[in-house]
């Protein structure tokens, strides 16, 4: 790529640009600085003259190539359209199955499963008021339940997403069902959508169920198991969305999401896993940043960059895990009422003690 500025021949450009500038200035003024949500100053308008052609490969590049600004696949959506996957979770396994069949008939190309809130909370169904069971997700407690939920669903040909903060048991049920049906685990594909326990700890405590140390061990077991036995499964989805919804700017979201991904990657390396294999099964979830990004910065696209860069190991640097982080004890019990005696604070905030 030439380092010389691109000389664009644009007849009428100066005149049209000048006219726009005058009109804009009359209506809004020229002294108003515009900053995006990340406090980066942006111009009111960008034109081809703002680009000198120097950094095409560094900033933009080609689809399927670093830095992945234009997508992570060479063909992107011309090669394969995005997955149509609606969130589904309701009632009994039979209710779920009925709904799944409806959306598959309507053209869905993948399915998701949201378990009942009792499952989310790790509470035995017997301890829950029956009127609440199945109102916010499907009650799945056994392999038989999963078998009924997935009746007629072509496991092995369709990917599933488990929307559970600890999706390990749901995957186990799914694999048991596959075994019953004689479907090899190597053909099972899908994602553990809410396995990013760090995002739960810092920004979505309603999903935070195990201690940090426990969640970390279980997640690594999950990654290792999938690497060995279910290679088409994505065991980690690093979630920026929780932080965004808790108020993080796009820059903060990307920074913390990437550092979380680095942490998981380092943990995998420390366990002796081949990072080039494992990283290919890391996915990410960020929402709403794209609608707020400035024309020249791409926070949402950035999660497709960097850490997913070809699984190139040198990009993953060793990070020490602070002992305070790794050893923090469990802080949630399902039905504890806190601070029933102290009246010191007019508004108690959780955690209160």
């Amino acid at each position: 790529m030439s380092k010389e500025a691109v000389q664009l021949s644009l007849p009428g450009f100066e005149q049209a640009h000048g006219r726009w500038r005058a009109e804009y200035g009359r209506q809004i003024g020229t002294d108003r600085v515009i900053r995006n949500r990340s406090q980066i100053e942006i111009k009111p308008l960008y034109t081809p003259r703002d680009w000198n052609g120097e950094s095409f490969l560094d900033d933009l590049g080609f689809p399927g190539q670093f830095p992945y600004t234009r997508g992570i696949y060479p063909t992107m959506h011309r090669g394969r359209t995005w997955t149509q996957r609606q969130l589904i979770g309701l009632g009994t396994p039979e209710d779920y199955n009925k709904r799944v069949r409806v959306i598959l008939d309507a053209g869905a190309t993948a399915i998701s499963l949201l378990p009942c809130n009792s499952g989310f909370r790790g509470v035995d169904c017997d301890e829950v008021d029956p009127v609440l069971l199945g109102t916010c997700g499907t009650v799945i407690n056994t392999t038989d339940h999963m078998d009924r939920a997935l009746d007629g669903v072509p496991l092995g040909n369709i990917s599933t997403a488990m929307n559970d903060p600890s999706p390990f048991t749901l995957l186990a049920f799914t694999l048991a069902v596959a075994k019953r049906r004689g479907i090899p685990w190597t053909s099972i594909t899908g994602t553990s959508n809410q396995s990013d326990y760090i995002s739960h700890f810092i920004a979505n405590h309603m999903f935070y169920r195990l201690s940090l140390a426990g969640a970390r061990r279980v997640l690594l077991d999950h990654i290792e198991f999938c690497r060995k036995h279910v290679p088409g499964w994505n065991p980690v989805s690093v979630v920026g969305q929780h932080m965004q919804q808790a108020g993080a700017t796009p820059v903060e979201t990307m920074a913390f999401t990437l550092s979380t991904a680095l942490q998981y990657a380092q943990d995998c390396i420390d366990r002796g896993m081949d990072i080039d294999v494992v990283l290919r099964r890391f996915t990410s979830t960020s929402r709403s940043a794209s609608s707020r990004r400035s024309p020249n910065s791409a926070p949402a696209g950035a999660s497709g960059r960097g850490w997913r860069a070809n699984g190139s190991a040198p990009r993953i640097r060793a990070r020490g895990v602070s002992s305070s982080m790794a050893r923090r004890p469990a802080s949630i019990s399902p039905s504890s009422s806190r601070s029933t005696t102290s009246r010191a604070s007019p508004c108690r905030r959780w955690p209160a003690s």
């Binding site: 009942c116 809130n117 829950v128 008021d129 916010c136 009422s337 806190r338 029933t340 508004c347």
Partner: protein, 149 residues
């Protein structure tokens, strides 16, 4: 209408029962009731009904605000029953969040004083809770006076 000011201030328990953990709403409501001068007792989500009754008794609250965003309102009638059984039938109960239109009557029949759905204004909630607390306080005071005689 001016806010009814109680002395000591209205005591309001803001909590969530059941299985859902969406607590943004209860946190926001707790904060603005506090800012309006009330004494707010706030708990994390996932409280059991006996825990809420115990807390209401120990904290001598005037009003309980239940936040429900994912069907937990279905067990609110069990809470009002439990409050009455514990001799706390005078405590005002309001619900905020998502309550489907055809399930509102069940809650009102169970003794829920008001249901604040999406779009409810902050001042509307403050005013309602303040007036309800004042009414509850009157009942309490009358009962105490009766006992004292």
């Amino acid at each position: 209408m001016s806010l009814a000011t109680l002395s000591p201030p209205a005591r309001v328990l803001v909590t969530k029962i059941g299985l859902d953990g969406h607590d943004r709403g209860s946190r926001i409501v707790a904060a603005f009731l506090r800012d309006a001068g009330m004494e707010v007792i706030y708990t994390p989500p996932w409280q059991s009904i006996p825990a809420v009754v115990k807390l209401a008794m120990e904290e001598d609250v005037d009003v309980i605000g239940i936040s429900s965003l994912a069907t937990d309102h279905l067990i609110v009638p069990k809470l009002t029953d439990a409050l009455r059984a514990a001799g706390l039938g005078h405590v005002g109960v309001v619900v905020g969040g998502i309550v489907p239109e055809d399930e509102r009557a069940v809650l009102i029949d169970a003794g829920v004083h008001a249901i604040f759905g999406p779009g409810s204004a902050r001042d509307e909630i403050i005013q309602h809770v303040a007036l309800l607390a004042a009414k509850v306080r009157e009942t309490k005071d009358a009962e105490l006076a009766e006992i004292a005689q």
